[in-house]
Amino acid sequence: MGRGSEDWAAVLERLLEGDRAALFALTRLVNSFLARWNAYDFRDEWDDLIQEVLLAAATAVRDGTLRERDAAFGYLRTTARFKFCDRLKRHLRLAEDEILAWEDVVEGGLEPAAELSDGARVRDVRRALEALPAVQREVVQAVHVRGQTYEEAAVATGIPLGSLKRHLRDGLRALREVLGSDEGYP
């Protein structure tokens, strides 16, 4: 079951009741949005942004402005997108009314990971990862799977920082070549 089909309205209600498990589930959801939207230019602000999104969504449930239960997931995603784009504009020093091309990408181009995580695609990606030289696979997994910073990955793998970046670049390039873009992969 994809994340979009979960009853997020119920989770938000539990958040209003002080349920920390609900807080965890919502945090992980918004975290996944931000990762997918490539929000790494302000990685250290994610927890603030997540809190803003959750407060806005929970308040909407509390005040009755979110009327349809089924709309909760969309509300969370849209709120996160707006806040992400606002923050990105601030980082880029853009005016509020300036066009942010990346917003279109965020809105339509990057689908939830859950839709990618089934069946043949997953097997293909794992196979492609396994086909990488061990050192490339290690750094790709450290940075793009476990979310480590380069410094953290360098410490964890024992690979010098410069070499780590080179292996990462080569690994990503190889993955793109193996997976190709004509079969629905990036």
Partner: protein, 465 residues
């Protein structure tokens, strides 16, 4: 395709190291360029696919474990706790989740009376919310040393017995470090004396004025001070406050360049598990003793300098001597001991470690105490206030970000990265250089409040005499 920029660069290299300085221009360009946005999106999608490909393998900390860590780490078996901590050390997404779990403001949600979807009001909501919030509070830890609890309690009882009155009006604020003079050698001041030499305290005047020149005795740890024996050393000359922020060019008004929003301190390092001394004794005056506080967050503060400038605060002029002590956890001898003979001026005081022949060791935790000594012959009457500091060297990434941030945003970046000690020093320097700046002072106060130092913040905002 009208923009060729993404075709002309190595996007794999960008995807692998997007924060490198050479990509600064492209980082600013692609979000506003449709063509480059699409090109970068393909690589972002690759990241998404990679993440999803291992989603079933639960690469991250499980829900129940992260919740346990957020609420009370000791609930986890030790081996599991260590495994989770090791994962957290290297996993930014899980750290984000933990930060939200620990810092989420449930109170901001207010009462759920008008919830749209709930069929009925759940009974006992407040009780459950309170129960949920209690674990989010910082737990008590082993660093609370029994003697530090006993001493303030003893002082409090002694003051109660004396029927001491509560403190009066807010004190004047001294923004300068007290002017120090060479220590006058006393009977116990010979080099090599085991105890820190102390001048006999003068009879305490009923209403002491801020002292222009308190006598200061200083002792540095021998192993940190070039192998010298423990000795009373001349006080360090008056040093320029905070050593971390690069000197501001005269022509630049840093206060005017400060961001509108105050810095946002995030606790990223667990320096001390709990305040070293707790209770009313460290938050207000006891009897006729002023409030004394070494400044750092209540669970300690991190610094990225081995010789940071520390600050301490005295709510009113003190008619009794003040001692400052810095001692490494588990150490026998203090790294540094300083004594300011009475009277000691009220206000914010700087203690630059630079130039004193001492340096913090990376990763080590130091207890930092400020002590009022009402009776040198009866040290059980001391009023002790403690906190902790730790030197956590900056990563290369942080150094780059600090360089990019410039002096005006330095405190914000430092606070964001958990370096409260240095953030406060940077802001204080700006506030001192620009006493007319209400923004600098307000941000200084905000940083104090975020560290749980509301009493000090209130003192700084009180009208000066």
């Amino acid at each position: 395709m009208s923009c060729r920029r993404s075709a002309e660069i190595d996007l794999a290299a960008f995807a692998a190291d997007r924060h490198a300085p050479e990509w600064r221009g492209f980082r600013a360009h692609y979000p506003v360029c449709p063509d480059c946005s699409r090109a970068v999106a393909a690589w972002a999608q690759l990241h998404s696919v990679l993440e999803a490909s291992v989603a079933e393998e639960s690469a991250h900390v499980a829900e129940d474990e992260l919740l346990a860590v957020a609420a009370d780490p000791v609930r986890l078996p030790e081996a599991r706790r260590r495994a989770v901590e090791a994962h957290l050390a290297g996993c930014a997404p899980c750290r984000s989740e933990l930060a939200v779990l620990r810092g989420f403001d449930f109170a901001a949600l207010g009462a759920p009376a008008a919830r749209r979807f709930a069929a009925e009001e759940p009974p006992g909501w407040i009780d459950r919310l309170a129960a949920a919030l209690i674990p989010l509070r910082r737990p008590a830890f082993a660093l609370a040393v029994a003697v530090l609890v006993a001493i303030p309690a003893g002082i409090a009882m002694w003051r109660l017995w004396q029927g001491a009155a509560s403190p009066g009006a807010p004190p004047p604020i001294a923004q300068e470090e007290p002017v120090v003079t060479p220590p006058a050698p006393g009977p116990g001041a010979e080099p090599g004396a085991r105890e820190l030499a102390r001048e006999p305290a003068p009879a305490a005047p009923p209403a002491p004025e801020p002292a222009p020149a308190p006598v200061v005795a200083e002792r540095a740890s021998p192993e940190r001070a070039g192998g010298a024996r423990i000795a009373e050393t001349p006080p360090a000359p008056r040093l320029p406050a905070p050593d971390l922020a690069p000197p501001a060019p005269e022509a630049v008004d840093l206060a005017a360049l400060l961001p509108e929003q105050p810095p946002h301190y995030r606790e990223r390092f667990t320096v001390a598990a709990a305040p070293l001394a707790t209770g009313t004794a460290i938050r207000g005056s006891i009897g006729d003793l002023p409030a004394l506080r070494p400044l750092a967050p209540d669970r300690g503060g991190a610094t990225l300098s081995p010789t940071p400038t520390l600050y301490w605060y005295l709510s009113e002029p003190s008619a009794v001597p003040v001692e400052l002590t810095l001692i490494a956890e588990d150490a026998v001898e203090p790294l540094l001991e300083l004594r300011f003979e009475a009277p000691v001026a009220a206000g914010l005081h700087a203690l630059p470690l630079d130039g004193r022949g001492v340096a913090l060791s990376a990763g080590a935790t130091y207890a930092w105490y400020a002590t009022l000594v009402p009776d040198a012959q009866h040290r059980d009457l001391d009023f002790v206030s403690g906190t902790a500091i730790r030197y956590e060297p900056a990563t290369a990434d942080l150094e780059r970000r600090l360089e990019e941030a410039g002096a005006a945003r330095r405190a914000h970046v430092l606070a964001e990265q958990g370096y409260w000690i240095d953030a406060f020093a940077a802001l204080t320097r700006i506030a001192q250089d620009h006493p007319e700046s209400t923004r600098a002072r307000a941000q200084q106060v905000a940083l104090l409040e975020q560290a749980g130092l509301g009493t000090v913040a209130a003192g700084l905002t009180a009208p000066t005499h």
